[in-house]
């Protein structure tokens, strides 16, 4: 154990995403945790720190991490609960990676878990008097729809461009046994589904989901004793909104700024990334984010998606496992699921959705303004 060590993703595991009314949050989390331990080839008593990413909802809000990790074993390790809305488990991973790089621990485990109710998500934040709720202002699809409308106005992006994101994501999810929706849909079906917030139709909104993810990180020296083909967590960066007099405080956080920090730390550029998972809670998430990540110029995201640039066979494959739209979005579990997919891609274990020659991958996960970018390579 030493300061500044490389961080390796030693194991990943998921409980499938979907609706599991007979299972508790603890059941989902335990199954994901055991899958990650098996994947890593270590026992829980070798884990030196535990981080739980979760937003809330069904079940008791306090002490959940202690309970969930306590089910896997009790050998006295520090357990920490992390909440960053839909970015909770990717932020947990960053803190775990910090602890390893600082030399505090050799291994750490992140579990992300959530059980959600059906229905339209409210925008988070302070609404103590219910004003925004009464006036119908704080609805999550409206926030993304307004990003889309601004993009359409500035760059001529078309509703069909956004709809195509959903077509692509559903096709990818057909090859993902952990996905919530494993059915192909056509562009016509996406556009003809019920309008929610223009230009976003129902099939351009991610579902609410139950699910869990688990990721085990280790120092490079620990990892060498357990794998000959490590996937490195090369760089990570987080951010929150940046005040501007000139632009509205919309969006899911300063992805462009955070990505530049992450590229600099990793010593690579956007052209080196071969597989990417982005936060597509709604279809504009993919089009706006690939611009902010530097894969295409501002305004080119819509045509790029339309022409297949983010398909598994395209220049920049995005959301190869179906993304939030089709894999599902149990909020606290999502970041860990994105990491799981990138790791499987970099290991060459993604089966029919494998991206050829994937050596570097990127995860962008966001939650109500907090945004995380993590870069992985082999």
């Amino acid at each position: 154990m030493s300061i500044g060590e490389d961080v390796v993703v030693l194991g990943v595991g998921l409980h499938p995403f979907g609706r599991f009314p007979t299972k508790s949050l603890d059941d989902l989390a335990r199954e994901a945790g055991l899958a990650a331990l098996d994947d890593a080839g270590i026992e829980f008593n070798q884990v030196e720190a535990g981080y739980l990413g979760r937003v809330g909802g069904t079940g008791p809000p306090v002490g959940v991490g202690m309970r969930i990790f306590g089910e896997l074993g009790q050998h006295g390790i520090p357990i920490t609960n992390i909440e960053l809305a839909c970015g909770s488990s990717s932020r947990s991973l960053m803190l775990a990676a910090d602890a390893i790089r600082a030399g505090s621990v050799e291994t750490a485990m992140v579990i992300g878990a959530e059980k959600m109710e059906r229905g339209m998500l409210r925008v988070g934040g302070v609404d103590s008097d219910g004003y925004a709720s009464l006036m119908g202002l704080n609805v999550m699809p409206a926030a993304y729809a307004m990003m889309a409308q601004r993009h359409m106005s500035e760059f001529g992006t078309k509703p069909e461009h956004f709809a195509q994101v959903s077509v692509k994501s559903h096709r990818n999810a057909m090859h993902n046994p952990n996905a919530q929706y494993r059915v192909a849909i056509t562009l016509e079906e996406v556009l003809a589904s019920r309008m929610v917030c223009e230009p976003l139709t129902l099939y351009q909104c991610c579902p609410t989901s139950d699910g869990a993810s688990a990721v085990i990180l280790a120092s490079a020296s620990f990892a060498r004793r357990h794998t000959n083909t490590p996937v490195h967590l090369r760089a990570w960066a987080g951010g929150s909104p940046v005040y501007s007099r000139e632009r509205s405080p919309q969006g899911e956080g300063p992805t462009g700024l955070v990505a530049r920090r992450a590229y600099q730390k990793a010593g690579i550029g956007p052209e080196d990334v071969r597989v990417t998972q982005v936060h597509d809670a709604f279809t504009p998430g993919e089009i706006l984010t690939i611009e902010e990540l530097g894969y295409v110029k501002p305004g080119e995201g819509g045509p790029f998606v339309w022409e297949g640039g983010t398909e598994i066979t395209g220049r920049c494959p995005v959301n190869t496992d179906g993304g939030l739209l089709s894999r599902g979005h149990p909020m606290g579990a999502t970041g860990g699921a994105m990491v799981t997919e990138v790791v499987r891609q970099l290991r060459g274990q993604a089966g029919p959705r494998q991206v050829a020659g994937a050596r570097a991958g990127l995860v962008q996960n966001a939650g109500i303004g907090g945004v995380n970018v993590l870069i992985f390579n082999t």
Partner: protein, 144 residues
């Protein structure tokens, strides 16, 4: 705004003026930085532009333009508005952004860049005998 019994009072959670003279425009209450001049919708203690502590209360311009918008077609739980209705982010003439419903035109007429002016919106709700009023923006300019 429709005439009705009771004194109009601002809906809880929003801060704006309700002029006694219907010919006068309502205005959002905001905060102004005495150091750099930045303005913000609602109450703030610290300037986001320069970090100055202690902002002055102010009334914001009732004029603005639509920065972006959407037409909401699905009724959110608890909302008093019936879809379809428009939510917009409005950039006020004196700088700050605010979010509001847009009334006074067909929902399909709203455009990015459209000039709008603040107006009152009757919620059809009563509170202790007072009429609860919210705010909205409608198409219009200084001259209308």
């Amino acid at each position: 705004m429709t005439a009705g019994a009771g004194t109009p009072v601002a809906i809880k959670g929003a801060a704006f003026t309700i002029p006694a003279d219907p010919a006068e425009r309502p205005q959002l209450r905001g905060s102004a930085c005495p150091s750099c001049g930045a303005r913000f919708a609602g109450q703030r203690a610290i300037c986001l532009g320069c970090g100055h502590r202690g902002l002055d209360e102010c009334l914001l311009s009732p004029l603005g333009v639509v920065w972006t918008f959407t037409i909401v077609h699905q009724k959110p739980p608890g909302a008093i508005l019936e879809p379809p209705y428009v939510i917009a982010q409005i950039r006020l003439q004196d700088g700050p952004f605010t979010q509001s419903i847009v009334t006074g035109c067909s929902v399909t007429d709203v455009r990015v860049g459209m000039p709008v002016v603040m107006t009152l919106y009757d919620t059809d709700r009563m509170s202790d005998g007072d009429r609860v009023v919210a705010f909205a923006f409608r198409p219009g300019t200084d001259a209308t």
